[in-house]
Symmetry: C2
Subunit: 342 residues, 2 copies
DNA sequence: ATAAGTTATGTGAACGTTCACGGGAGGAGC
DNA sequence: GCTCCTCCCGTGAACGTTCACATAACTTAT
């Protein structure tokens, strides 16, 4: 292909090949009603002139832009980055493009992004919702506009969702701690405003209840600020300096775990000796710690792919706005990895 | 705003408000030649009908799509994720959108992505180039098409680049090891095919030379496979089982560091006792390790922002395809953080 | 040889905007 | 009362495609 020289249109190719622009279209899109010789002549002109079709124009006429929007709340966070990678991979393999937006956990920015992306005529939206009231979805978007929420649920008819089996996963995590012999178990969990946190807390409580263990409120750290490492650190400090401190903790995300680990260091407590820890989210570092940190791994990439498949299904009218629950996986870095089936 | 009901166009709004579509356009875009009453009437109609402008159509006519393309080689990698976050943030603040593509370090997929994005009429491209020959840039894109490379350079006139001061950073890293008293220093570095690796190796050599220290080839691990944790682990195993092993190692990326840490564990060697390590890339975990891992932090988000600023400058014709070098920062997690000025 | 069918190509319109005009209403100046 | 200007607003064309037809040139059947 020759050097593309600015903006060449179908008409110029048509002139070069001595045919009409429709014929050019036929040649390019590999349609039937064209003789091989003409096709070759057109294709040569295309190549000579360095013509590249303008998909935007095609989309305007044809109606489908083959673009979906992805709104995450924090791209720099590995959970979201991996989800985004999954979305991109699946979309790409199905001929769709992904426009990316970052809400920074800010509902206003999220809403703005939804608006902007819709005006760009994306065909659907995958959202990792920020905290707060999402009723704008009802007013800002057409009633049948395809939306898939990831990690958190959006309570609207036309919104599908892809979620973790949070309750089961949390239960499994606690059961692992119990299997190590722990009975005094606490937890540091993000705000109960978040569905994931609520469900994980429920799983925690259930597991404790099933094992006849007491859930002590002074061993529970939760709240708005807990979502950041700093807040988590503070929560952990409080829990671990209690007169009767727990011997094990469950945390509900890797960001929280960072804070807890810092607290441990500051208090001079050793993991595996003074206190055991299990965390949600597998981070690249969890296996590098000494001792390795057991985690509930979320199938991040799968979640992105599943959401994209569902969304494209909805776009193409062959799928529904379901709710999908994916299992977590317990990684202890010791024996075999255990798939949570629950 | 009322519930958007499918696809409303300017003409329908015009009919509703009893004006022409041009007047609607004026009202929406806040132009001058319109009376306040008419404007209000139109805006009410817009609101009543739930009209949302179709930016795609506007872009087709107006010429500028306000979209840029971002091609990274591995989104799941935190370096790229953070760069992407920076790009998105800067683009967004300047009214541009970002279409994301992932090349998976595959030159073919990268080229495909460049093609597709160009056909979508993105106004410019930010690329974290995969390994290999990028001459397709010359043939597949118009001569003046704005491109900015990140992390690696693209040797074409119209390509700007945003890079780390690799040599200086590597030198600083080695000097830090020297300051700890080390004289037997090795390095595990990705393939010298990569510009970054070459430059970091040069920095390494320079620092060693300046300190009158010997660079021993059996203490150097490099090559194609080294870029993956597995390959890095193998390299480290070879280096650390040498009869006379080094007491300190520099690694050129966090992925490599993962491999080296695994090798250390397998060999039963303790960091801070048997061998010291310094790494490129600050990962969330580097400070969590025991002892904390000193790193050269790359200004990932800044790099993304700087690349985007440059690109938009080029797009809007007020900037050039420069080469920008950003400094790394030595994080020892001990004393104050040291800014590499070099 | 004529009607009908097939193949290959061209024409007009449309997608939803914005740009470049054109033009009417009303006031100011002579 | 006429011109000229300003303020609003409308019309036609264009952006680069694709879709739905129309049409020309050949085949094939009758």
């Amino acid at each position: 292909m020759a050097r593309t020289s600015g903006k060449v249109t179908m008409k110029e190719v048509a002139a070069e090949a001595g045919v009409s622009y429709q014929t050019v279209s036929r040649a390019i899109n590999g349609q039937e009603d064209i003789s091989p010789e003409t096709r070759d002549r057109v294709l040569k002109a295309v190549s000579d002139l360095g013509y590249r079709p303008n998909r935007m124009a095609g989309a305007l006429r044809g109606g489908n832009s083959k673009v979906i929007g992805l709104i995450v709340s924090d791209l720099a966070n590995s959970f979201h980055a991996e989800v985004a990678a999954g979305v991109e991979a699946e979309a790409n393999s199905r001929g769709y493009f992904v426009i990316l937006a970052n809400s920074s956990e800010d509902l206003l920015r999220e809403r703005q992004a939804v608006s902007n992306l819709f005006e760009r005529r994306v065909e659907g939206l995958i959202i990792a919702p920020a905290q707060g009231d999402h009723s704008y979805i009802e007013t800002d978007l057409p009633a049948d506009f395809p939306v898939v929420a990831i990690n958190r649920r959006l309570e609207y008819a036309h919104c599908g969702s892809v979620l973790l089996k949070n309750e089961e996963a949390a239960r499994e995590a606690v059961e692992y701690l119990i299997s190590l012999g722990h009975t005094k178990i606490g937890a540091v969990i993000a705000s109960p405003d978040l569905m994931t946190s609520r469900e994980r807390l429920t799983g925690f409580r259930n597991a404790m209840y099933n094992a006849d263990l007491e859930v002590r409120s002074e061993w529970l750290g939760t709240g708005r600020s807990t979502i950041h490492p700093d807040g988590a650190r503070a929560s952990a400090m409080r829990i671990l300096t209690a007169s009767d401190r727990p011997t094990a903790l469950m945390t509900s995300s890797s960001r929280i775990t960072e804070g807890v680990l810092i607290a441990l260091r500051e208090l001079g407590l050793k993991r595996g000796v003074d206190v055991d820890l299990i965390s949600f989210d597998r981070a690249p570092w969890s296996s590098l710690l000494e001792p390795p940190l057991p985690v509930i791994e979320q199938p991040t990439s799968h979640m992105g792919r599943a959401a994209t498949r569902m969304l494209i299904g909805m776009i193409e009218g062959i799928g529904l706005a379901e709710e999908i629950r994916l299992p977590g996986r317990l990684l202890t870095n010791r024996e075999e990895e255990i798939q949570i089936s629950a």
